[in-house]
């Protein structure tokens, strides 16, 4: 009974989300909608790290490596093919391949913890340095000029699949980006409900026990890492589609830091939390940028410190715990599409993250 109720509730939430994505262009202004498109692209990036960190227990300091690779892969092939259809696929495949190579190196070397952090961080720095030094005419791939520090301007944006001359309007771009966010969310939700997802969480909880039960933690972690790299690559393509521009700062450390902040604020070990955290923080940063009184670093830093010290679980798990206490259980599930994660899993995420 309870299971069926929760399924119905989740279906309702999904339908509501689809309706919201569909009607938003008619309700708000163009500028706000463009901003929402950016937030949605970033939220896809947030989901990619939320998945490997929150459920796989792998804290990557270099998620922007895959994000940036996706962005560049999209931009380079879009300039060459003048068609976004193969470019989007490449933006998913190339980061996934890169994640496969890097992940093989990391997980089959049984590197974990801080050491994994150092490797992912340095890989990002290598990419940043290399791409940053590609100014000049000799650095071109096909027709695409890499442009070094200045990046690649005027990248063709998305078009209707296989019709290169039918470029998507801002509304259609929003539908694609919002739809991609919802799609990735549902994909990860589904994966976590399947036995495969349980194995990922099992490896996070106790690697030795999982391997004694016959699962190879290295392989599980590698596959998790590849999936997350592919999602981050997709986010990169969506981001480039939003701005029609890609530059080396897409690999920057500060963006890597920001993803971690989104997840810490929203709630590690959930999927809804990082999306909420991402939109909230990005909105705050955009708001601060529009006025002169405060420095955005100052606010972001203060927010992160306060959350780690006072609210280490993050917004969504805390809100869920509060709701659970206030109202009977079934209603709480209706409010949160994430209701399936038992509170114990959310509470133990810190142990898993280390």
């Amino acid at each position: 009974m309870a299971v069926r109720f929760s399924l119905v509730a989740q279906a309702v939430v999904v339908v509501l989300a689809i309706v919201a994505i569909a009607v938003i262009p008619g309700v708000i202004e163009l500028f706000a909608m463009m901003q929402l498109t950016l937030f949605a692209a970033m939220a896809v990036l947030a989901l990619s790290l939320a998945f490997i960190w929150g459920f796989g227990g792998i804290l990557s300091f270099g998620q922007t490596a895959f994000f940036g690779l996706g962005g560049y892969a999209y931009a380079i092939s879009a300039v060459n093919f003048q068609d976004s259809t193969p470019s989007i696929l490449l933006a998913i495949i190339i980061p996934a391949l890169f994640a496969a190579i890097l992940g093989y190196f990391i997980f089959f070397g049984r590197i974990s913890d801080v050491y994994l952090g150092v490797i992912t961080l340095t890989v990002t720095l290598i990419l940043f340095n290399c791409v940053n030094s590609t100014s000049g005419d000799e650095y071109r791939i096909g027709k695409a000029l890499l442009g070094g520090f200045n990046g690649m301007p005027a990248v063709p944006t998305f078009n209707v699949p296989f019709y290169p001359d039918q470029v998507l309007s801002p509304e259609q771009s929003w539908w694609v980006t919002g739809g991609a966010l919802l799609g990735v969310f549902l994909l990860l939700r589904l994966l976590l409900a399947l036995p495969a997802g349980r194995i990922v969480v099992a490896v996070r909880e106790n690697e030795t026990r999982a391997s004694l039960l016959g699962y190879d933690p290295r392989k599980v972690k590698l596959l998790t890492f590849i999936l997350s790299g592919a999602i981050a690559g997709l986010a990169g393509a969506l981001y480039v589609n939003w701005g029609a521009f890609v530059g080396p700062t897409i690999f920057s450390l500060s963006l890597s830091a920001e993803i971690i902040i989104w997840i810490t604020v929203g709630g590690l070990g959930t999927l809804l939390g990082p999306v909420v955290g991402c939109v909230l923080i990005e909105y705050i940063v955009a708001y601060i940028g529009s006025q002169q009184a405060l420095n955005s670093n100052l606010v972001l830093g203060a927010v992160l410190v306060v959350f780690v010290l006072l609210l280490p679980k993050g917004l969504v798990p805390t809100a869920r715990d509060l709701l659970m206490r206030l109202v009977p259980a079934p209603k709480a599930k209706e409010r949160l599409a994430d209701g399936q994660v038992p509170p114990s899993a959310a509470a133990s995420h810190m142990a898993g993250a280390e």
């Binding site: 913890d113 150092v118 490797i119 030094s133 670093n297 410190v305 780690v308 010290l309 810190m350 993250a353």
Partner: protein
Amino acid sequence: MAIYLIVALDVLNGISSLFLLCLGLAIIFGMMKIINLAHGEFIMLGAYATVISANAGVNIWIAMLIVAPLFVGLVGLIIERCLIRFLYGRLVDSMLATWGLSLLIIGIITTIYGNTQQGVPTPLGGFSIGSYQSSYYTLFLAGMAIAMMALVYGVMRYTRWGLIARATMQNPAMAATLGVNPTRVYMSTFAIGAAITGLAGGLVAPVSGITPGMGGAYVAKAFMTVVGGGAAMLSGTMSAASLFGAVNQVGAYFTTPVYGEVLVFMAAIVLIRLLPQGISGRFFKGNL
């Protein structure tokens, strides 16, 4: 011939500045297993303290060697009391909180001094080898690196305080039953680590552009060197700094400075893959 001497000097410079920049982080990581990602901002604070006091008329040597470490040591003490002490034993949380702290410090300094570059002139003159120029400051940095190494080694190895600190590092509970107060040891260790970082910031102030965001250039390298060096804070950091400093300078000599950096990062990745416990996890076990 002269060119080899110059490259050798560059390598020496690379190693000694990397060692100085990492030592504070290595002490904090080695003693307390806290990764301080605000390390770059401690360097930045040291550099600002130096520049501001030197421009206010303080002798540059006093500003570098006394004002910078004192100021950053104090800041470290305050930060340990207000933030770090809640995070012992929570490695990931401590990284997140100190990352937040680094953004906060950058924000504060940007708000006060603006996002502009400051600087002080490099003291000591230059000398020439053949047709190449070098500066005495390079030699001074190398001397400082050796002096700091000797000082830390001497304090840790031969003084009562060093004995207590090492005991607390090995087994806090046992040290506490023998009458040591681990909280005080942690507090002072963090402050000393911060002070050494401040000193490093003061020392690099004359040879680098000083902006609120300058710490970002150092933190990744320092993080990498300390982790690559492993648990032994002196021998590990020294060996990793020698390796990375040399790779960086020699790589930069044969290619471009950018690829020199890239080579260092690759060396770090290979090193961690081959020696997952860091250099000292394999070669200098049990050393300082």
